[in-house]
């Protein structure tokens, strides 16, 4: 675990770190053994309570999976409010400006046409295309930034800690084995918070891709610290 980053101190570091250990995309540095202990919950309340307990116990490197957004979870996990707003708004303004400048160039300078004797520079009549272009720019930026922030790319081989996490299960993972967090303690914490099953999240060595164990399948003892693979 020596190549994992040290315990994060600021919120930004926490986010970067959380993404690192849960998404495990760093193929260049395969990590042996468990990198996190994951507790599974049947309700969003269970997930929230466990996240609060983990945070109260001093764990900072946390990640959660849920089939739908759980309100109130972000502050507990230390996630800031998404910052997609301002860049999208600025892109909308850029769209207005682009369209305004473009129309002004076409209608006033490049090829001015006398149209019922009206002046060439009639910006009030350009407001509709400006509005449409600004909103179109904003929509494209909104989607692009959302995909970038969520790290979404066409990936046919995505694996979750458990396929039921898009169905009816909720999961909280505590970075364990790394950062000096004891997997046994992490498991005890998750169980006491009401997890009906606890599993480990490994980074696969052979493939370089993260290998998540299914919920029921017991983890081999070699892959994680003793006691961390008990299942409900």
């Amino acid at each position: 675990m020596a190549n994992l980053p040290p315990l994060p101190k600021t919120t930004d570091e926490l986010i970067a770190h959380t993404v690192h250990f849960t998404e495990g995309i760093d193929e260049t540095k395969p990590v042996k053994g468990a990198v996190a202990t994951a507790g599974f919950f049947a309700t969003e309340d269970g997930l929230l309570a466990a996240a609060r307990a983990a945070r109260a116990a001093g764990h900072t490197a946390l990640q959660a999976w849920s089939p739908y957004p759980v309100h109130g979870l972000d502050p507990v996990l230390g996630l800031q409010r998404s910052l997609l707003g301002r860049p999208v708004f600025m892109t909308a303004l850029a769209g207005f400006a682009f369209c305004f400048i473009g129309i002004a160039y076409l209608m006033v300078f490049d090829w001015p046409v006398i149209y019922a004797g009206r002046p060439y520079f009639t910006w009030t009549l350009w407001v509709v295309p400006m509005l449409e272009a600004g909103l179109l720019f904003a929509a494209l930026a909104n989607l692009k930034l959302c995909f970038a922030a969520c790290k979404l790319l066409p990936d046919p081989f995505t694996r979750l800690p458990d396929p039921r996490l898009t169905d009816d299960q909720f999961c909280l993972a505590i970075s364990a084995g790394a950062n000096g967090v004891d997997p046994v303690a992490a498991e005890a914490l998750l169980r006491s918070a009401g997890a009906h099953a606890v599993s480990t999240i490994d980074a696969g060595v052979a493939s370089g891709q993260p290998v998540f164990r299914p919920l029921e399948e017991p983890a081999p003892a070699a892959a994680s610290a003793p006691g961390s693979h008990a299942h409900a």
Binding site: E23, T43, E44, L48, Q63, A64, W65, S66, P67, Y68, P69, V70, H71, G72, L73, D74, L77, L79, R81, S82, L84, G85, V88, I103, L106, D110, W111, V113, Y115, R118, L125, V128, P129, L131, E132, A133, L135, L136, A138, A139, N142, L143, L145, C146, F147, A149, C150, K151, L152, L153, P154, D155, P156, F157, T158, L160, P163, L165, T166, D167
Partner: protein, 458 residues
């Protein structure tokens, strides 16, 4: 959801099972029959377009007086249907109407499919569809001209393309978590493994982590803010396109709100026509409940009343202004002229039939919902026909007066566009969840315990 109390409460697993089941089971006979019928109708569209490209615009019956016929009336009709989907997906979202989650996916799909059919009509209407890219401000070396940005027709090009793009993007963003749900439920067979990879690629590797949801929710709510002015602006632009002209019956400042409310009215009627059979066919009674229909019908009653108000006000202003051309258009030509039957059919469908929705039992009865839905669809198509064709038929100069009747190809084009619409909708309901799974779970299972608005409400 008070009407489902005898059944045990829905669990997340039940919701997933119910809503993904149509994707994995074999199609029913009803679906195959519907698809065959829609496919047959679509072939009429293909045939008409081939004939049109081969023989020219003369196969349609527009003439020098009535230059806008079926093309523009049907275009406005389909755009109106698209508007209602955005009402449900964006405007009701901004008004925090949680019940929208039961119907928003279906209406958004309706939007996307209706808007691409709507786009087809003006592209046909130009007469030379292979030159349609001239509508865009594209550097034309051979023409040395630009589109005239003072013209609402150019505004309309921007409005339609911007709206079509945004509604597709919004629709796709909303689909992501549900496509991931489908991905994770693909069976472990050969087909299932292929399906898993296809859905995995389509959902862009969605994981549903807390760090993804917070961006997703923000982007979703921002899309609602973006789509709402777009949709209102788009249909107002179409209305302005008519209102800036001097044709009697068009030259009216009431047109933008008239068109927007009419569009919502007609679009919700189409939503009823789609949702009532869909609920029965897929047994979605616990997701698309009578309460949903009740609410949709109430909104229809509201916007339908606005439309009725405008019908009355058109006559009132024609009389009050003492403009003899307007007076002639409304009091004489529309009520008693050659096309009076289409005016009275519109009044019957949009005004008389709608009054059934004052009764709660009829707002919750599938038969009456379907009846009013179909009636209002017919009525709204004829509303556009009345506005566009009847006004053009008798304008200021009697020497210009002319009559417009459908050619056989006009009928084929209109029928074919319905085929293309239903083929898309029927195809979609078999490949993606037709009710938004993640949103329905959030609405039905969420117990209030934390202050809302942190990430959702941007």
């Amino acid at each position: 959801m008070s009407d489902v109390t005898p059944l045990p409460p829905l669990t997340a697993k039940q919701i997933t099972d119910d809503l993904t089941a149509p994707i994995f089971r074999r199609p029913s006979l009803g679906w195959i029959a519907g698809m065959a019928a829609a496919g047959g109708l679509k072939m009429l569209l293909v045939f008409t377009i081939v004939m049109y490209v081969w023989a020219g615009y003369g196969i349609f019956n527009v003439n020098s007086t009535v230059g806008w016929g079926n093309d523009i009336a049907s275009y406005v009709f389909w755009i109106g249907i698209a508007v209602a989907g955005t009402l449900v997906s964006s405007i009701l979202f901004l008004f925090r109407q949680k019940w929208r989650t039961g119907v928003n996916r279906a209406t958004e799909a309706m939007t996307v499919f209706a808007v691409n059919i709507a786009g087809l009509y003006p592209l046909i209407h130009t007469g030379r569809p292979w030159c349609d890219y001239w509508l865009l401000p594209y550097p034309w070396d051979h023409l040395q001209l630009w589109p005239q940005f003072k013209s609402p027709i150019v505004w309309d090009v921007f409005a339609i393309s911007g709206y079509a793009t945004t509604s597709v993007l919004f629709f796709y963003l909303g689909l992501l978590p549900d496509l991931a749900t489908v991905r994770d439920r693909c069976p472990d067979t050969l087909i299932g493994r292929i399906q898993r990879q296809v859905y995995g690629a389509l959902c862009l590797g969605w994981k549903g982590t807390a760090s993804q949801w917070r961006h997703y929710e923000r982007a979703y709510s921002q899309f609602a803010w973006i789509a709402t002015p777009l949709v209102v602006g788009m249909h107002s632009t179409i209305a302005t396109l008519l209102a800036v002209s001097l044709v009697p019956g068009w030259h009216s400042t009431v047109f933008p709100p008239y068109f927007v409310s009419g569009a919502i009215f007609g679009g919700l009627a189409m939503a009823l026509v789609l949702l009532v059979p869909l609920r029965a066919g897929f047994k979605l009674h616990r997701y698309i409940t009578d309460d949903h229909f009740d609410n949709l019908a109430k909104i229809m009653l509201g916007v339908g009343s606005i439309v009725l108000y405008v019908y009355v006000m058109e006559f009132f202003t024609a009389w009050y202004s003492q403009n003899k051309y307007e007076f002639w258009q409304f009091f004489v030509y529309r009520c008693t002229g050659a096309h009076a039957w289409s005016f009275w059919l519109m009044i019957f469908c949009n005004v008389v039939c709608l009054q059934l929705f004052w009764f709660k039992a009829l707002r919750r009865n599938p038969i009456s919902l379907l009846f009013v839905g179909i009636a209002v669809n017919v009525g709204m198509w004829f509303e556009r026909f009345n506005i566009i064709v009847l006004s053009l038929e008798q304008d200021h100069l009697p020497v210009n007066w002319n009559y417009y009747a459908f050619s056989p190809f006009d009928y084929l084009l209109l029928a074919g566009s319905f085929g293309l619409f239903f083929i898309q909708f029927l195809g979609f309901i078999r490949v993606a969840p037709i009710v938004a799974i993640a949103e329905v779970k959030q609405t039905l299972l969420h117990q209030p315990h934390a202050p809302h608005g942190e990430a959702t409400h941007g």
